[in-house]
Symmetry: C2
Subunit: 640 residues, 2 copies
């Protein structure tokens, strides 16, 4: 059932394009910065205390005084795990002794915090060992284990060092005993370990991983009242979550019966990712069918144009169909990342650009927007409209900040961006026995396990020409033609135009050693219209070019974008710029009108309008030039 699989972690080497630049930024800036945060050495950032928590947990295990004890979220450990995972990916791209040394040290600190029985979680180890496993809903022990398992796998693959993998194998056995051998009920309140167990299973062949993953997925929602029953047995909570909110916890029904993407968006897509992975691994058609239904629920009814998902701050969750507010959006960075995970696993079951288009949409918009261009500040929440004075200020917009903060008390997103970018190759490329798959376009060298190699050269998404040199090949290259380019693209093979048929949006081209392929995609900016079922998007259009959604910021538009409307048939032109704060980018200039500003709240006077050329920048760049207005969906100019 698995038609192709993600590229192996070591398969991609950065080149010199857009993705490589981002990967270098992670290595040079983000990883060192986040390391300093984890060690509470970053100026002006929220306190993290992650490393200190592990050290204090080790003391607790020895019965020593735990000093300043535990600090942070119940899942604080996972920040270290995600950093380690990102560091592992970075080491593949850019070998770095110093970074590896720091990672090794951190792994020792983590290993010291593991209990004799394999248990590993600083919150409960420091605070109260008696409370272990008594609050699956909020305790996040399985979530933290999941992230540490991912880190362990990545670090082993990157370095060959098994120290953390051994720790986590012991941890998995502890969890296996509890949930399989001893038949304790319950599933993780925050899914994550499921997808991690699948990774570990593939890496190690340990059947307990697969069995445990199946156990967590198959039992989810079978007893919707589990969390209530669990809560009734204890007299404490972590943060007072409601155990009866079945949807929030993706536990209202067995997973195979779930049809709408509901609840906490990150939890949801992490779960669906594992479901898709397990389904393809075990050829479970019923489970895969549920994944397809949930995929449709998200992408056809509950997803922003940016690939952002989870539109409401209430529960950081999916709302109902077509409820996609721009200004009060939640659209957590981690949720867009999770959607990429889900898309990538679905793509393994069916090479259809339906999945890879979303993979790309989420990455270039909803994920990249989560990080400031210099790698030093982060958005947790990614609105599609910001208006200083309202955004971050109105009671309903408190979460929608107009500029990125340095760090968060709940710091899930920053290290998640780091690990995603450094592992971009896994999502961009795939393979099976005799075919290599190019889902996304990323400059660099690609080495497949089937023996084939690709060298990709491109400045995408700021150039629409992608060149491949195929090496060591005797098979096919399947290259995605994005849906936005389906009417206008060109393939060349060894300099000769070819016309490969597309199958589900992919061109399958026979390749031999030394072949050169070129794909030229449509670079014409285009408008996007939303279904009129989305109340907030009626009467407006968004401007895109290639995979990039554009937005209009005040700084480019005389300080005010709210009074601008775009002409439906107006010309769109391109301006290349190299800006001190944005670096290189390509602005779009769009014909429109500007309404004369009026101080009257309501007026019976028809608005006076004058022609205006509005300027747009890629959405992922917004908020890099100070606090100002930003809008993705622009009103269309009215017929007079």
């Amino acid at each position: 059932m698995k038609i192709q699989k993600q590229l192996s972690q070591s398969g991609f080497k950065s080149g010199s394009g857009f993705i490589s630049d981002y990967q270098r930024l992670i290595k040079d800036v983000v990883l060192p910065y986040q390391y300093s945060v984890l060690n509470d050495e970053a100026d002006g950032a929220e306190k993290s205390h992650v490393v200190a928590n592990f050290k204090n947990a080790a003391k607790a295990l020895k019965g020593e005084d735990t000093g300043d004890g535990f600090y942070g979220m119940v899942f604080q450990d996972s920040d270290a795990a995600k950093w380690l995972e990102a560091a592992a990916y970075s080491l593949v791209l850019f070998p770095d002794e110093d970074l590896e040394k720091r990672a090794d040290e951190l792994i020792e600190i983590i290993a010291d915090a593991q209990d004799d029985d394999g248990y590993l979680d600083t919150y409960f180890t420091i605070k109260d060992r008696e409370k272990r496993w008594k609050n699956l809903m909020e305790g996040h022990e399985l979530y933290c284990s999941g992230h540490m398992i991912e880190a362990a796998c990545a670090y082993y693959e990157a370095t060959g060092k098994s120290r953390l993998l051994d720790v986590m194998t012991k941890n998995v056995e502890h969890i296996y005993r509890r949930f399989v051998t001893d038949k304790n009920e319950g599933c993780p309140g925050h899914p994550e370990i499921e997808l991690a167990l699948m990774k570990m299973y593939r890496l190690t062949g340990n059947e307990h991983c697969l069995e445990l993953c199946e156990r967590f997925i198959n039992e989810r929602g079978v007893n919707p009242h589990f969390y209530e029953e669990e809560a009734a047995k204890r007299d404490w909570t972590v943060w007072g979550n409601n155990p009866s909110d079945y949807d929030y916890l993706q536990g209202a029904k067995p997973v195979r019966e779930q049809t709408d993407a509901t609840g906490h968006a990150v939890r949801a897509v992490y779960l669906y990712t594992a479901m898709a992975d397990l389904a393809s691994q075990t050829s479970d058609e019923g489970l895969l069918k549920a994944c397809r239904t949930l995929w449709e629920s998200i992408t056809k009814k509950r997803m922003y144009i940016t690939g952002g998902i989870g539109s409401t701050v209430i529960g950081e969750a999916f709302s109902v169909d077509y409820d996609l507010p721009n200004d009060t959006a939640y659209a957590e960075t981690c949720a867009a990342i999770g959607l990429m995970f889900f898309a990538s696993r679905m793509l393994e079951t069916d090479v259809d650009r339906e999945y890879s288009d979303v993979l790309e949409r989420a990455f270039y918009n909803g994920v990249l927007s989560g990080m400031q261009l210099d790698g030093k500040r982060f958005f947790y929440v990614n609105p599609l409209e910001a208006v200083p004075g309202i955004s971050g200020a109105s009671p309903t917009h408190r979460h929608d900040l107009p500029v990125r903060p340095k760090w968060y008390a709940c710091a899930c997103c920053p290290p998640n961006v780091a690990r995603l970018i450094t592992s971009f190759g896994k999502y961009a490329y795939g393979e099976n026995e005799n075919t290599v798959f190019c889902h996304l376009f990323a400059d660099g060298e690609v080495k497949f396990e089937n023996g084939m190699k690709l060298i990709c050269q491109t400045k995408y998404p700021y150039s629409f020409e992608i060149n491949y040199k195929v090496l060591n090949a005797d098979g096919k290259a399947a290259i995605r033609v994005p849906s936005w380019s389906e009417k206008n693209y060109l393939f060349k093979k060894n300099g000769v135009v070819i016309y490969p048929l597309l199958k589900k949006g992919y061109a399958y081209i026979d390749v031999k050693d030394g072949d050169e392929l070129m794909l030229d995609l449509d670079d014409t900016p285009y408008r996007v219209y939303a279904s009129s079922k989305v109340p907030r998007l009626t009467g407006s259009a968004a401007i895109c070019r290639g995979p990039l959604v554009y937005c209009f910021e005040g700084v480019d538009n005389d300080g005010d974008v709210l009074s601008i409307s775009l002409k439906r048939s107006g010309a769109i032109s391109l301006r290349q710029i190299s800006d001190e704060r944005l670096g290189y980018t390509e602005k779009l200039l769009v014909e429109g009108v500007r309404r004369e500003r009026s101080d009257a709240l309501y007026s019976t006077q028809p608005p006076k309008e004058a022609p205006y050329t509005a300027q747009a920048v890629p959405y992922y760049m917004w908020g890099n030039r100070g606090e100002n207005q930003m809008r993705v969906w622009m009103n269309e100019a009215a017929e007079n």
Copy 2:
């Protein structure tokens, strides 16, 4: 400083127009219905228990078993007070022995619940007398007293019976002793008693009322930490309000220093009403200046086109400037009523249609929308857009119901509408020594204290001709020309066209006994545009006619209004209809286009549009024909 004053309660007698029809509905349907609710005899409505609470409180005072004790909100008593007040007004309009008998009985029940020292509040009397006056923030004892004072004054004026007035005079003396004589600190968490004390002062001349009102207004916000200090002294709360939320409680600053309308919207406008009343009574220019600033804050930056205020559900409160969402609006019915109170008091200080235009806007739209046309169901929240599937369903739209419920656990709005409509004459007309003022247009007979009389005949707002017969006059009639009619209106005096100059929107016309005046206002439908500072309203227009804001409902528009845009220069025509469910009304037919429905969430295809004539009904009528889409602000059709 008081230039004119509200018409006395007994000054207006219903005629046979729009207002009179509504007043008759209150008498025939609403008052009996609400009486049955208060007595827990209404089928399918939320339990009220109001009358039972008073009876049980009387038992508590005698040390008897209180049976089923207290039930409901801490301010449940006020529902009885508002009903009594409405009944009093109704008795002036439509003498009714049965109603008066029921009111007298209720008053005896209330009187029995008063403590020997004058204290009157069933919640604390039943639950715990030791907690009296220990929680001004949440306890609502002063709020309930305020409403009962208003009822007592109204009932005395209507019937000459002083039973309730005596009870409340004793209650006021109790409060006076506590806050003036004994110098206890603190102000009501929910302002209301202040405006009631001003009414009682004018009715009775009791200086303690004035003094107490001044005490509550002048001390408000002087110690912003009062509620925190108060909370620190007790170990209980009513509903866990945050004593540090100074803005919510209008207590961040002394009232004369407040510049932005903040916090719980009903509390805010009740306070401002009393401030304006006190300022004009005592010629306090500083206080009046604060009122003007707060008025501007509301009406120029924080008010819906419907006169709805308090745009956010969070705290039922004012948000920041220009944050006026249509779909997640709160716009509580009571807040629009409170805005009318405030407008009416401001109008006493300055006869400027700036105030009376808002008075009218709020009444015909934000207030009337609060009640189903048959008087049997009520909206607490009045959104400007409803989309079944999202409204009432999305986590951020739970409060925005698409159809009116029968009653509410928190039932402040229904009886508030009843008392407002039955006292409409007070807001419509005013007077001073030699002038009568016509602020609003209401068919009926008006008798002024200055001796003059008016007989007004009109079908307004479904006719734009208003005829006055002036009797017993030797002075002036000041008649408002609404701002929407300023470019097109006509006055006749005794059949001859006259051209009176307008002063702040009012025509001052010399009148003698027997004069006949006619005013013909502009009946042309018109478009309203919002300032582009309001993010949610860019690119759209609202359709109005006279004082009525119109809306588009699915039932009139093939089930879908979201896909309709209106042509900016499109014709608007009128259709008179008499509908089984709407009764008589005048629909507006507006030229527009309808977008072809698309199931694709996002599409690069330009939308296909076809001409469509959209139908609108007055906003106050929405939601009377089942659950369907509704929109006030419509997109304007794009230039192709």
